[in-house]
Amino acid sequence: MTIEVSTLSDTADLNLKARVDRSIYLSELLNLRSPTPLEWLNAVRDRATAIVQEQAIPTTRDEEWRFTNLSSLLQVSFQRAEAATIGYAEIQPFLLPETTNSRLVFVNGFYAADLSAVDDLPEGVLAGNLIGIAEFIPALADYLAMQPGAEEVFTALNTASLTDAAIVHIPKNQIVEAPIQILYVTIASETPKLNQPRCLTISEVGSQVTLIEDHVTFGEGVYFTNPVTEIWVAENAGVRHTRVQRDSEMAFHIGKTAVSQARNSRYTCTAVSLGAEMSRHNLEIYQTGEQTETTLNGLTVLNHQQIGDTHSKIAFSKPHGKSNQVNKCIVSDRAHAIFNGKILVPKPAQLTDAAQLSRNLLLSAKARIDTKPQLEITADNVKCAHGATVSQLEDDEVFYLQSRGLKQSEAQKLLTYAFAIDIINQIPISSLCTILANLIRTQSL
């Protein structure tokens, strides 16, 4: 009995020590922030700072982080990312022909005006950086950092450190034909850097826009990127959002996408995660009105020792809401993919129609997949379907292709590509589809 008590208290001590360490580490990250030139932004930052100061870096004992161990992050001491310049020629491979005159480029979190261009956007559409265009956005304070879930530790860290952001404002009934690309470039170097990009998109009543959020890397070195994207989809508006995470394999990427959808609105997210040593995407959709439609397509392709985690949440709140989610993971070597798909259907959200499918392909005996649907339904007249599959390539499929002259490795690659391609094909930008299809064809095995 005595032994048990002492063991318990030892564990408690260790837990306490770990928590103290993790909260010190978090405050060190917070201390890397620089002051903001925007006086009014301090109130927003201060609110978030108070939240951060009460928290610590999560452990695997936190339910939300059960499968994703952040210990390796804690081994690294980060410095603030500094402004850096990069030439047009260097980023050119990441620029899409469809967005020649509709793109915002941020380098290490700093707006690169010389690399950005918004000439193709219709009059009235505002796209730029927070410091440059904040004064032109109506009711900005009602939107910035106002999404639910702002208290989540990494989201709050980003907000507390906020100095600049990508801002897109689409006025009422404006249909924007040109897709808008937001390119986040990180220049990695020997010194590990912390980089916290931010994006705020407001799509007003009846408007329509296509966004591409793309995370890319130059150079070699460890870095930690903690991006937050907030999207407000007003009544009857439509936003198509493509999120590509192709950070270098030395990166830590913990990203948040928070979306609020008013009645009759449509939001589609196609998220493709290929990079980072450890990545996490918290994708949270809040339906605030009736007859709102959400489509989520996800693809994660991992190899070596990569860890890739997608935690999604679709929170219904009103009748006739609809969601359709397909998440696919392809995992080889010793990589580890995690998918947790939460769907909340409270009592008022009658006649909700929600479908979720998690499909996973394991390409090696040491690869690992954790997939978990999490449906919390209290409404009694709803349609909620969910399914999860984990499979390997079938010997017969590989043999069929071999019998037509493909080498075993080519056959495996083609089948893996085939598994992934329907998610890629959901991206409404053909040049990006081609780029990603080629990446997957060459990198997946």
Partner: protein, 260 residues
């Protein structure tokens, strides 16, 4: 078309093979020369389909003895893709569906793999398109087939026609047709048979595996082999198939026993 001086395409001697430690082939002998059409008939479980898969190199089967020489090469030592590129083609009994890969891409990858193997330049999408259009007519296939995913949602007849389309492109030295007639109505069977007959020449050979004599009315064999228990019991001309159709397999077994 039998000609004594033709090249030997396939020579199988005393072939034995297991699947999961169960012997399936128990000493199979067969020789096929260029220009010939052979048919193997036999009841379910006789080892016919196993034999065809072993020739193509399916990994589930373990060869325990004997040899298979394909045009002077030891076939059993070759990877399945090398067998294909060297001229062995298996038309599957159950062609697989590959969602996400368009039929035309699949056909081109396959065709170019063989061209590369033969030291030829790969065809680009445009040139390949011209080539494949000409083959489509042979099998009365609509061009819409090309843009669909490989075999996905194809009817039984469409899948079998797609197999023969692949064969038409790859121009094998040895075409092995595993129950190409099963599940086909007579119209589809005629189209498939016409395709196979059109591909026949004096320097290639065809091995058909079938349950039904009906197929042999449309693709006329030079030799019919009766297989049971993992061996070929008897061999004859096309009239043997008619006899099997009329009398069943029992009399072959009885004669075999009597001959021992």
């Amino acid at each position: 078309m039998i000609s004594e001086n033709s090249e030997v395409i396939l020579s199988v001697r005393n072939l034995t093979a297991n699947v999961e430690d169960t012997p399936i082939l128990k000493g199979l002998n067969l020789e096929i020369k260029a220009g010939e059409i052979h048919a193997i008939m036999g009841p379910n479980g006789s080892g016919k389909s196993t034999f065809s898969k072993i020739l193509a190199g399916h990994p589930a089967y373990e060869v325990t003895g004997g040899e298979v020489i394909f045009r002077g090469q030891n076939l059993l030592e070759m990877e399945p893709d090398d067998r294909a590129k060297s001229g062995v083609f298996l038309a599957f009994q159950y062609p697989l569906e590959i969602p996400g890969v368009s039929n035309v891409d699949f056909l081109r990858v396959s065709y170019n793999a063989k061209r590369k193997h033969n030291g030829l330049e790969e065809l680009d999408a445009f040139d390949f398109d011209d080539l494949v259009q000409s083959k489509l007519e042979l099998l009365k296939m609509d061009a819409a087939f090309l843009s669909r995913s490989v075999n996905e949602g194809f009817s039984g007849g469409e899948k079998k026609r797609n197999e023969i389309l692949q064969m038409a492109l790859l121009e094998p030295k040895l075409g092995i047709l595993d129950e190409i007639d099963s599940g086909l109505d007579i119209d589809a069977l005629k189209i498939v048979a016409n395709g196979v007959n059109a591909l026949k020449s004096s320097d290639n050979a065809t091995l058909m595996i079938t349950h039904y004599q009906r197929l042999l009315d449309y693709i006329i064999p030079d030799f019919v082999h009766v297989m049971e228990g993992g061996r070929i019991l008897t061999t004859g001309g096309k009239e043997l198939a008619l006899e099997l159709e009329a009398r069943g397999y029992d009399w072959v077994r009885e004669e075999e026993v009597a001959a021992r």
